[in-house]
Symmetry: C2
Subunit: 430 residues, 2 copies
């Protein structure tokens, strides 16, 4: 296909006319499709139904050390859950606290604790004048929502295929004591599907923060969420790397089984250094008597061990890989060569990131919505929902069934073409 | 029996000698008994095992409105869980948020939110100079631990069999804008088993706080935890009463199924006014994508409705009623007439409160511990763990089996007698 910018005004006018006719046809179909959120589809949920049989009324609900999981207690989680999630997170079980059903809640709670009680003896954040977080962009809207809720100023840092721009990160973290944290989705990042390079992780581990209470918020949400068996990203383990670099307390690492077992009914975990754990325990012992041990035990009995979990992830991959490939094929077929957008080709995670021509994202999402296809709001991948380029759109291919997904992807590319063509046309000299 | 204080020095010396001999016999038995925490016993946990079959791999995990409980979403809980807990709490389902596994965590979170964001537009507590909470005493140590953790000054208010001394509560709440809350366990209170009278509840509902951000923290932990079918306490429903009195936003009410289904694996809830709910939602939507809906559905399927839950509570009562009666019988038999202690006779809840002679509680608990019987720490029922009278001891009869419990109660009364007798003896004139 000829790039739109290279078309004559006449050619482009013709293209727009045809695109409008196609768009009308889609609109008349009265679609109700959703490519907005990173939700597993029904088939993915079905593969975890065996978990509902992992514990029944005849089961012994004691864990290996004899603790009756039905009763109160065990503040940091049962040992076998720490082992399972330790293997999943590549961390020592001793460095892990098992929480409730939501790692987002653990991240929220981590910031709330820093606000009211400070980090490892430092002044509580709520008593400090100015708080800033670095936000690699595009990034995850729910991360940004937490920092916004706490009134923490968010500073965008550009993402690259290797991870955040570390020159900028190093400069800001080392020079400004108001910079207290950085949000990272280091593997199969949300939304680009990029994984941080070895060098990036090492540079993170070597950071020399101006603030003694600076922490890296390492949300390893997609650590084992590969799409392919023979093509996988590898991520240097950050806790070990920080220890090696003499910065053992620099990181809070988060993970959960939300996209492994059931979203909202999984178990979440935090891994960090002994000093940070000791700090957190002062809160934890006042906050709860313990998290849901029966659900911890259910996960352990169902998965058995990390091999069982890895096997389970293959089933997920088999369901969603064709969806990613279908969307990418549509993007390639419909937009290839037009020079009106770029997109990532992740080999894991839950998203494809699409960059439209500057100033077009909102119009594209709006046009898709009018024809019945819900995309993530344009701007959502930036702090405060404001993408200064109005360019980035997150595509979430997992939830719709294949038929709906193909339709939605077709319509999406049509909207990209129409909005882009009209924009280019309007800028052409008469 | 003759009261110790009326004995001659010689009689008391003889008594002490005999008690010491008995105590030595118990010590030689090398006991390992625990009457310290309000934990259900194994038999109580067993009656909820059917819950493990309430959902299996063949089950439809959709709730009534069609939502797939396995996936993300439904921030405030599924409707049928709100109905079930609404019936349990005597509140409209629309006034309820279903949380995770721990109401203690919800209380912690409620105070943490007030610290960082304030209540309904008022200045965040962390930006206010002085914060105080009223603490009816004796009370629940984990309530006090939360307020202590947040640096909130705790002011003890005496409990009566009708509830807290409302003259004092009214005065402090109406005069001091630093008073931001009061901890209440209004029904079968921890540890006395007292239930607030109608008048007490109405006086709570009519409070005119000096602080616009004062709230009653109404922890209705034992709302349906009766010991008898024919003898039950009734509690005026506080939300409705507050509304009637023109104070709709005065109360946060907490409850959970921790001592109904499985402690630590139940569901917790908060009930409050629409204004408070709206305020809380600003936090909740940033804090999580939703709590564990599968566990909510599991509870609904297992209990069916409030009648099922009430029936279930009868089974609990049948198990623990004889334990309460055994402890009370031992207290009556061993301490009756000695005038060295007083104790409550609850008809619900999880505790018996014992008041020793002033200055004896620590010594009694220590002596019991040395003979292998763990009681709740003396002082735990007071803010900062400091009982100014060194008098109150909480007895938790539910967890040990009957044989152990009887032994523990015997030993406890023996320790009370020995410590008291020695104290009286030491104060006698030569």
């Amino acid at each position: 296909m000829k790039a739109y910018k290279d078309m004559t005004k006449e050619e482009l006018a013709h293209e727009i006319k045809e695109l409008k006719a196609s768009y009308k046809k889609y609109k008349d179909m009265d679609l109700r499709l959703d490519m907005s959120r990173g939700k597993p589809c029904r088939e993915q949920l079905d593969i975890s139904m065996g978990m509902m049989d992992a514990l029944n009324s005849e089961a012994d609900l004691s864990c290996a050390d004899g603790t009756d999981c039905r009763n109160y207690g065990v503040l940091t989680g049962i040992e076998e859950a720490k082992v399972l999630l330790g293997d999943m997170m590549e961390n020592n079980p001793d460095n892990i606290i098992i929480y409730g059903n939501s790692s987002l809640n653990v991240m929220y709670d981590t910031i709330a604790r820093a606000m009211t009680h400070g980090i490892m003896g430092n002044t509580p954040w709520c008593k400090q004048d100015k708080l800033k977080f670095l936000c690699p962009v595009p990034g995850y809207d729910r991360h940004f929502a937490i920092t916004e809720y706490f009134g923490i100023e968010m500073i965008p840092v550009a993402m690259t295929p290797e991870g955040p721009d570390m020159d900028v990160v190093e400069k800001l973290v080392s020079e400004d004591p108001a910079v207290k944290g950085i949000w990272c989705t280091p593997k199969y990042s949300n939304p680009q599907g990029y994984s941080y390079s070895d060098e990036t992780v090492t540079r993170f581990a070597k950071l020399k923060p101006a603030a003694p209470d600076f922490r890296i918020f390492w949300d390893n949400a997609y650590g084992i969420h590969h799409l392919y068996e023979d093509k996988q990203d590898y991520l240097v383990e950050i806790l070990a790397e920080c220890k090696r670099c003499g910065n053992p307390d620099l990181v809070y690492k988060f993970a959960s089984t939300s996209k492994i077992s059931f979203p909202g009914s999984g178990i979440a975990a935090l891994a960090t250094s002994p000093n940070n754990l000791e700090d957190i325990m002062k809160q934890l012992k006042n906050q709860t008597i313990g998290h849901d041990k029966v659900n911890q035990l259910r996960h352990v009995r169902f998965f058995g061990d990390i091999y069982g979990m890895t096997e389970h992830m293959r089933k997920h991959a088999n369901i969603i890989r064709p969806k990613f490939e279908a969307v990418l094929a549509t993007l390639d077929n419909r937009l290839g060569g037009l020079e009106i957008g770029e997109w990532t080709r992740p080999i894991g995670g839950y998203f494809i990131s699409f960059d439209a021509m500057e100033g077009c994202a909102k119009a594209i999402v709006e046009k898709a919505k009018k024809a019945g296809v819900i995309m993530t709001n344009a701007g959502a991948t930036w702090p405060y929902g404001k993408d200064p380029h109005d360019s980035n759109i997150r595509i979430a291919p997992t939830y719709p069934n294949m038929e709906d997904l193909k339709l939605a992807a077709e319509l999406f590319t049509l909207c990209v073409r129409l909005v882009s063509a009209e924009k280019i046309y309007s800028q052409m000299a008469d």
